[in-house]
């Protein structure tokens, strides 16, 4: 009995010391890490809606979104920014999505993923000589209604060997954009530009088979 108890207790002491020191380090670094993540998120928001200079966070039907304005007085809205969450292969992929006023996609940026290195994480890869993140760039200017990866008959070229990741990003972006579009449409129809009603028609057809 003693031969089991003693090593166990010794190991516990080591565990407690390790745990306490980690707790201390964590208390120092946690606010810094949070600040870094916030800075990265802000940078991504500005990246996906380059025309906007002022960003105004708001909530509609429990969807958090940000309206971007091109002037300081916030009279000229140029688009919206939302965060899309998609269940990838090994992580919940967070994508910041910039939408123009007609809800076509301005640009997207994946801000968090921990997919398989070399496969799924190529979603944020910059091609060969480091110019553009080729997967993300494909979303620029697309409409959310028929946003699908090539395997599902869409126009987004999926990442080789990482269809789950590609599909997760694509579908989450499409769903988030659609949810925001519908929520804003019902809340304040007056402020929606005319182009949206034209867009809403073809959207309804393509949406049918899409699983949420």
């Amino acid at each position: 009995m003693k031969s089991i108890l003693r090593p166990g207790l010794i190991l516990m002491v080591y565990g407690i010391i390790a745990g306490l020191s980690l707790g201390y380090i964590n208390s120092i670094t946690a606010p810094k890490i949070a600040a870094q993540e916030e800075a990265a998120r802000m940078a991504a928001i500005e990246e996906v809606l380059p025309e906007a200079v002022v960003f105004d966070p708001d909530t509609v039907e429990e969807i958090e979104y940000i309206t971007g304005y091109s002037d300081e007085e916030m009279t000229e809205p140029v688009g919206y920014v939302i965060t899309a969450y998609g269940n990838g292969f090994s992580s919940t992929i967070r994508t910041v999505v910039g939408l123009k006023l007609d809800f076509t996609i301005s640009a997207i940026e994946i801000v968090y993923q921990s997919e398989t290195p070399g496969l799924g994480d190529r979603a944020v890869e910059t091609k060969e000589n480091g110019e553009e993140p080729w997967f993300e760039v494909q979303f620029d200017g697309k409409e959310y209604g028929n946003l699908k990866v090539d395997k599902d008959g869409g126009a987004i070229e999926s990442i080789t060997g990482a269809t789950i990741t590609s599909r997760a990003v694509t579908n989450s972006v499409a769903n988030a954009a659609e949810a925001l579009a519908e929520a804003l449409e019902t809340r304040r129809p007056a402020s929606i530009p005319d182009t949206l009603t034209e867009l809403a028609e073809p959207k309804a057809e393509t949406e049918g088979g899409d699983t949420k």
């Binding site: 003693r6 390790a18 980690l22 380090i25 810094k32 870094q36 990265a40 921990s114 290195p117 994480d121």
Partner: protein, 201 residues
Amino acid sequence: MKMILKDLTKGTLIENPVLVLALGLCPTLAVSTSAINGLGMGIAATFVLVMSNLIIALIKKLVPGRIRIPIFIVVIATFVTITKLVMAAYTPALSKALGIFIPLIVVNCIILGRAEAFASKHNVIRSLADGIGMGFGFTLTLVLLGAFREILGSGTVFGANVMGSSFQPALLMILPPGAFLSLGLMVAGSRWILEKTGKEG
């Protein structure tokens, strides 16, 4: 004194952890896609190695032989977690680039290997020297390997273009096969140098 100097320098070539001892090959192959990734991984692993060697040399008399491995792992995992948190807080770009490979330092066999084979048998000063020497050898190998693959695979070193605009990068070199090819060449090169200088064995 002479022993300490030997502990400091042996990791560079004679007992190079990657090229001669063949330890820690998994992170070596995985992160050496560019020189900067190699440098970041090397420094992170060196920090963990030096700190774990130090602590294990200090506590070696307080560690019952039967449970030494779990205790070593607790010490190593603690320092890896500290490294991960500090990197995420102060160098987010590097932290993002190295991603999953930082937690994997825990299972880097160089660190447990040196704890078991060296730090648990030698005094604090020599264990520190061993950690620094081995860490330097690991970092140097990773940077050279990373630079080699980056030049051929992307035409750059540390992100700076060195091959001119007409250079067609061989993408293969930054893919996994390129890692094996480059590592094989480096091991052959290190054997050649060791045999030439008669320091083999």
